[in-house]
Symmetry: C2
Subunit: 343 residues, 2 copies
DNA sequence: ACTGGTCATGTAAACGTTTACATGGAGGGG
DNA sequence: CCCCTCCATGTAAACGTTTACATGACCAGT
């Protein structure tokens, strides 16, 4: 049997209330008593029971995050960052794969989850609006990451896709590229729409025309980037640069260009979006836009905690800044000198 | 105020004990009562309070995992797999970065952690033995992943490094390579020692000599792989193949070979270990050994649950099988046809 | 010296479950 | 027809905290 607060109280010759107060610092405890209690805690090896504490305070000091199946590269930063931010403010972090949620009868899952945590970060696109509504009805604060549910009032966080795309395309324009193609995604895709908007805006701002036949829709994977690029390479004149709405498609594009006997960036410059891990490793290394998942998760925890602490301000969408990462594939930089790029 | 079990009982016209029994299935409840209670649960939107339950049962249905700072590529699989396995058996998963543990006064951290979970998977090398001992003394079951603490009795899981290395090197030998170098790591490194042992065994089994000047120690990062390879390329005759104890060093090696004007695998074949994500993306794609982190985490959860459920069998070390992943860099395969390898 | 106010501490009532034990009704064997 | 058993259900005591309220000591101001 593990030592309880009673054991400590007995050993220190005080009441359990005093021990509890010392631990929580709610009221002052005299210095000598404090010392005695602290020794007693040491002596018996006492650790407060989280369940009992949670029950008494009706708050369990835990945040939950539901993560998506796919996001291989971002996953790590998402969890790491959320955990670090949570920990910093004294919270613990529970994690759930979205498939776990989907499989379980939703109610049961909701139940277990909802009563174990004080707030939820939903980072998956595969969870229905109904689920969000259920969680909210239950009274659990929620923030949504990388998604914007229209029909529902909920805080959300996402990368500043528009500005990221503007930066990427402007960079190309400013280095002399004029005929710039884009591989985009289905309009319904949150990131796709905004990134395409940024592309258009950059062209517009620099007085360049938008050429519809240079905008091709992909499916955010390598295959479709490859296929889209094959199409683009048949346009005449051939585009001078391609902006892909994500790195996977950019990598597919790279393969297509290479297969056609052309060189990146000499013949065609290439820029991606997201800065996934392999972007550093492909050859040439890929210029891309970092969507700062670490920052996003940080903001998510922060927003969530505001709600947990009772804020009832209007729900809001927070945009996290994106950063252009210049590597070799855009042809705007001296060849990098680090080992990775040599590969 | 959220509905409690009392609200349900009242609505169904039964006692709270009956509701509880229905929920936990400990004793039979008559069919009609069950139906009535179930409706009541629906009606009031009841969800059992996890803290109260945890307190009453002195078990909180939660496992914790402490993950390392570095393991970027494995991290994802570790968490995903652990979560999935835990979920499957009805447990929830708490995650902690090892830096969180280290920073907090250990006692405090131990406290919070220990009372929130029923068992701990320690996947970090940066946590001291003292911590493990403290956790064990407290009565929390622990299993250790990817590490073998000598001075302490604890369950552990790790990849079958020896056999992985044997497979890799044998593969090279069987395809005609004879003069095979190895980039290893400090002997104290868990994986390094075993992988080197596998290398030696493969050579020995095939009647090949071990040439000391072809075994160079690196530090498990790109830089050191690069440096080690520069040394190896000065040996005469130049090695026909290099086996690196991990993929990072293999990637560094690739850079060194290329810089010297040699080709992989035409002039020098190359095999790594771990199968990190970039291994698919480098050019040529890297033949390597998959250490199956998913499987390891699965086994870890399984072993941990045995302990949680009271097993007091002898502590044991479980080896998880490793698999050779043949790609281009070993020169033993027709050039792959998938998009990635074209890049 | 009396009153009122601080301050440190103790007492006891929550918090929402689970579960050992008690209760009472139904059914079956003698 | 009685007694024993079994089964469905209720009663109430844990589980280990936090915290409102009560208590009494001590001090200062009058």
């Amino acid at each position: 049997m593990r030592p309880t607060i009673h054991a400590v109280a007995k050993r220190a010759g005080v009441s359990i209330a005093t021990v509890s107060r010392l631990l929580n610092g709610s009221t002052r405890v005299s210095a000598e008593t404090a010392a005695r209690v602290r020794r007693a805690i040491e002596d018996v090896g006492y650790l407060p029971n989280a369940s009992a504490r949670g029950l008494a305070m009706s708050a369990n000091g835990t945040l939950a995050v539901i993560f998506p199946k796919l996001s291989g590269p971002f996953f790590s930063e998402l969890i790491r960052s959320a955990e670090a931010s949570a920990r910093e403010t004294g919270y613990h972090l529970l994690v759930y794969g979205d498939s776990s949620i989907a499989e379980d009868a939703q109610e049961r899952m909701l139940g277990l989850l909802a009563t174990k945590s004080d707030g939820l970060i939903l980072a998956s696109e595969n969870i229905g609006l109904d689920y969000i509504r259920d969680v909210q009805r239950w009274g659990l604060p929620v923030v949504v990451l990388g998604r914007q549910p229209d029909d529902i009032s909920v805080d959300s966080i996402r990368p500043d896709n528009v500005n990221g795309a503007v930066k990427a395309v402007s960079h190309l324009i400013e280095h002399g590229y004029r005929r710039i193609a884009m591989i985009t995604g289905r309009r319904t895709h949150l990131h796709a729409a905004d990134r395409e908007a940024g592309y258009r805006r950059a062209l517009y701002d620099h007085g360049l025309p938008i050429i519809p036949e240079l905008v091709i829709s992909g499916a955010f994977d390598e295959e479709s980037g490859y296929a889209a690029t094959q199409l683009l390479l048949r346009r005449r004149p051939v585009p001078e640069a391609i902006f892909a709405a994500n790195d996977e498609m950019a990598i597919g594009a790279m393969a297509a260009v290479r297969e056609k006997g052309l060189r990146v960036p000499a013949d065609i410059a290439l820029v991606g979006f997201d800065d996934i891990a392999p972007a550093r490793y492909v050859h040439p290394s890929l210029t891309t836009v970092d969507q700062d998942m670490y920052g996003q998760a940080q903001v998510a925890v922060q927003m969530l905690l505001e709600r947990v602490n009772g804020s009832d301000a209007e729900t809001e969408t927070r945009l996290v800044p994106t950063e252009l990462v210049i590597r070799e594939s855009c042809g705007c930089k001296d060849v990098a000198r680090d080992v990775a790029s040599v590969v």
